[in-house]
């Protein structure tokens, strides 16, 4: 192994810029770290070079543990996006700098320098100054300088970002050529997917500090394992599906016969990926010899030379929806690319009815947690937004934000504020402003959009109206709802409060998903509400429920323990929270009509008195009546 990264972590303030990244890079390989801006890929590169220290984790270069070594001793060549040539030195002196630092004699330096100038195609230009060269030429000098002292590793940080498209193409080819000739292990960081495809032996996709997937370009394109990778590497159509009895179902449609698909998700949910080129269009269903997806209308046709790109909107497919869900969408939008004439049709027109067939598909086994953040004017927006960033980094799933107010201007204002805070820190957030009643709008969105988690904020100044809104929301929600309180810190310890069988199994699994992604430890707490001194043996099903719950979590690699307390439920929960320093409280929602000692306002009482955020999950009635 040429380069080994082990569990690298780097924080800037409260943000995890590099979140437990581990990676092995082979000898002589050109690995591309691909990801959007702010994903942490440049930071990883600088940690490898020794320019930034990691908070934890180790770096090995060719079998040497270089984690504690300064950059001078790591023997890595680094090429910056802005070239960073020494302006006061000639090209020749720039290239020779690394050799001079190693006290290589003059004659040898000169020979090596000429060799490198020839290698990068700048022969004879040694006497020039950087300011006399074009951008592309300067970057070639930077590469030559980085290679001059024969380092063991070459690191490039978005090296072509500052150049025109045409020059970029030339330099990419040149770099690939040079890398092959010199056979040096190389890591290149970029956000350009085309560049990654062209250069990489393998691509590592990074988002929000996490390394999502690593693999050869073709493998990542055809069979990604992660939704973000699927959508980042090119056009993608993703539909929500489920596996049942060994078959993959897209709503009412079955994709295959009795092939075994297993997913980690116990509900059997998965995502089905169709690349735009995997779909075929026809004017009638009979023309298609392949499985039919559905019928729709052409909304846009783009001419791209040999290809045509079409945007279609299919009629709603029962039981399935497009991922990530967009607001106010009717039907299913689909992207198709085709070569005109190859299917017998020259062109499709806008407004034309078409039938879509599936030529090929790929199953993605994991479904990320899709988060909807809702706010009205009464909530403490900044606290809510800060927690959203924290949560998004833990879930690495799509985030949508909806602001509800009494009139459009106010709602837009909230959206603007949210945009300012969120956009620099998270990419791909969906924003919408809505007018109406908060609870109606927000719950409507959650129902329509296939969200997994609703996040709302606590009112800044609790008034009877805002309290009432929160009550109503909790009462009516049928989805996990997280109420953000106070200042968010991290998600490190999660407390599941069971009082009589809730949260149910599904909810422990859901909370477990968050726990796993956030790397948090969990505790299952059972509070025996009977105040009697006599230690009454707890009902056997409680014990098995707790044990099963803990086991489910442990099977998913989450630290879990079980605790028992006795007393007034709310007080005991609050006591446990304080003593255990928990960051997140998970409680079951008490449905109305239940008659237990606990009472229907347990959830609301906890909401009022808890100091940390509360996730309210809808409880299964399980063994209770």
């Amino acid at each position: 192994m040429s380069i080994v990264l082990q569990d690298l972590v780097k924080h800037f303030g409260a943000n995890s810029v590099v979140d437990h990244v581990s990676l092995e890079i082979h000898d002589g390989e050109l690995l591309v770290l691909l990801g959007p801006s702010g994903s942490g890929k440049s930071t990883i590169l600088r940690i490898i070079a020794g320019l930034i220290p990691a908070d934890s984790g180790r770096v090995w270069l060719h079998g040497r543990d270089v984690t504690d070594l300064p950059p001078q001793q790591r023997n890595t060549g680094f090429v910056f996006q802005n070239y960073s040539l020494f302006r006061h030195m000639t090209v020749a002196d720039n290239i020779e700098f690394g050799l001079a630092a190693r006290k290589v004699p003059k004659a040898q330096r000169a020979a090596k320098r000429e060799e490198l100038l020839a290698l990068v195609g700048l022969g004879g230009l040694g006497g020039r100054y950087p300011r006399q060269l074009s951008g592309g030429q300067q970057q070639r000098v930077a590469v030559a300088r980085a290679l001059a002292f024969e380092p063991s590793v070459l690191l490039l940080d978005e090296p072509f970002g500052a150049l025109d498209v045409k020059i970029r193409g030339q330099l990419r080819a040149a770099l690939k050529d040079i890398q092959r000739k010199v056979k040096i292990t190389t890591i290149l960081v970029t956000h350009d997917q085309d560049e990654a495809f062209e250069l990489a032996d393998r691509i590592g996709v990074i988002n929000r500090g996490k390394l999502l997937e690593v693999g050869p370009p073709a493998a990542l394109y055809r069979s990604p394992q992660h939704e973000f990778v699927a959508t980042f590497l090119g056009g993608a159509n993703l539909l929500a599906g489920a596996v049942e009895g060994g078959r993959v179902n897209l709503g009412a449609m079955q994709l295959s016969d009795a092939v075994s698909y297993t997913t980690v998700d116990p509900e059997g949910r998965l995502e089905v990926l169709f690349r735009p080129e995997d779909l075929m269009l026809a004017t009638s269903a009979d023309e298609l010899t392949i499985p039919v997806l559905g019928q729709g209308v052409v909304e846009e046709v783009l001419f791209l030379g040999t290809l045509q790109r079409l945007r279609l909107r299919l009629q709603p497919l029962p039981g399935t929806w497009r991922l990530p869900a967009e607001f106010g969408e009717t039907g299913v939008p689909i992207q198709v690319t085709r070569i005109p004439r190859s299917d017998g049709h020259l062109d499709f027109q806008v407004g034309q009815q078409v039938w879509v067939g599936i030529n090929n598909f790929h199953i993605l086994p994991r479904i990320p947690i899709r988060v909807l953040v809702g706010t009205d004017e009464s909530a403490n927006l900044d606290t809510l937004l800060n927690y959203t960033v924290l949560l998004a980094r833990a879930t690495s799933g799509p985030v949508s934000f909806v602001a509800v107010a009494d009139d459009t201007a106010d709602a837009e204002g909230l959206v603007t504020h949210a945009r300012e805070t969120l956009e620099p820190q998270l990419s791909g957030v969906n924003f919408q402003a809505r007018v109406g009643r908060f609870v109606d709008e927000v719950l409507g969105q959650v129902n329509e959009g296939g969200y997994d988690l609703l996040v709302v904020g606590e009112p800044r100044k609790p008034t009877s109206r805002s309290e009432g809104t929160l009550r109503e929301l909790i009462r009516r929600t049928r989805f996990p709802t997280l109420v953000v309180k106070d200042e968010p810190s991290a998600i490190r310890r999660i407390l599941f409060c069971t009082a009589g069988g809730e949260p149910g199994k599904r909810d422990i699994i859901f909370g477990g998903r968050i726990a796993r992604r956030a790397g948090a430890a969990t505790t299952l707490l059972y509070v025996d509400p009977t105040p009697g001194a006599a230690a009454r043996p707890e009902p056997p099903w409680i014990a098995s429920h707790l044990e099963e719950g803990a086991l489910t979590l442990l099977n998913q690699g989450i630290q879990a323990e079980v605790k028992r307390r006795q007393g007034v439920v709310v007080e005991e929960i609050l006591k446990e929270m304080r003593e255990g320093e928990y960051d997140l409280l998970v409680v079951g929602k008490h449905l109305e009509g239940r008659t237990t000692r606990v009472g229907t306002d347990l959830t609301l009482a906890l909401l009022q008195r808890s100091t940390c955020p509360i996730l309210v999950v809808t409880g299964e009635l399980s063994r209770f009546g």
């Binding site: 020794g50 302006r87 690394g98």
Partner: protein, 272 residues
Amino acid sequence: MYSAKGFLPKLLIGIVLAYLGVLIFLPIAAIVQGAFSKGIDALLEAFSDPTLWQAFVLSIELAIAAVIVNAIFGTIVAWVLVRQNFFGKGFFNALIDLPFVVSPVITGYMIILLFGRQGWLAPFVNAANVKIAFDVPGMLLVTVFVSLPFVVREVMPVLREIGTEPEQAAHTLGASGWRTFWRVTLPGIRWGLLYGISLTLARALGEFGGVLVAGGAVSGKTETATLFIYRAIEERQNIAAYGVALILAVISFVVLIGMEVLRKRTDLEVGS
């Protein structure tokens, strides 16, 4: 830059030229005229006064010393202020400009307060057997202080503009901190540094009130060229005064040309 067309821009240029002319050229013309007003022999006789040359030598010594001290410490201060972060950084940054707002006379007086016979630091001064107040060391302290901000303020923006990346590049190429400083950072800031040094030199040469108070203006001992001119005027030795003023003006002119050349070099390199 568009060429001035029409009456109003031309009038504006005319006013500016007249203003500069009156403020700068007239006095210089007056100095030249005054120096030669009684003929070149009178001038040469005035130059035969040994205290005149002693005053020059002292001025130049103080100026060079101030340049050396401020070049070194100014660069270090600039580097710390740009590259490091620490509590109270903003405050220290503002303090650098203190010499601009404090009258040099007060600075000179502070030297007396600190190092004079009844000064705060008198015991240390006596123990070290050095005379600071009313002697050249005190004048040096004043000169260093009044010319302090120039190197710092000229180097800081250049350091900022260069950024840390060239230094980082040098580190990845195997250069130690020292080598990086000598071969990369210092050459990178050299024009800004030289410009700051020329400003320091000019300011140090022109210092008057502070070195007067701190030194006592004893001719032959603690009298700089500027102080000599003052004494010469008081003693109605006008030719001598004009003569020294003329030499100082010539030196200033040379420094000015140097500054202009350096400024152009800085712009040229920064613009690459």
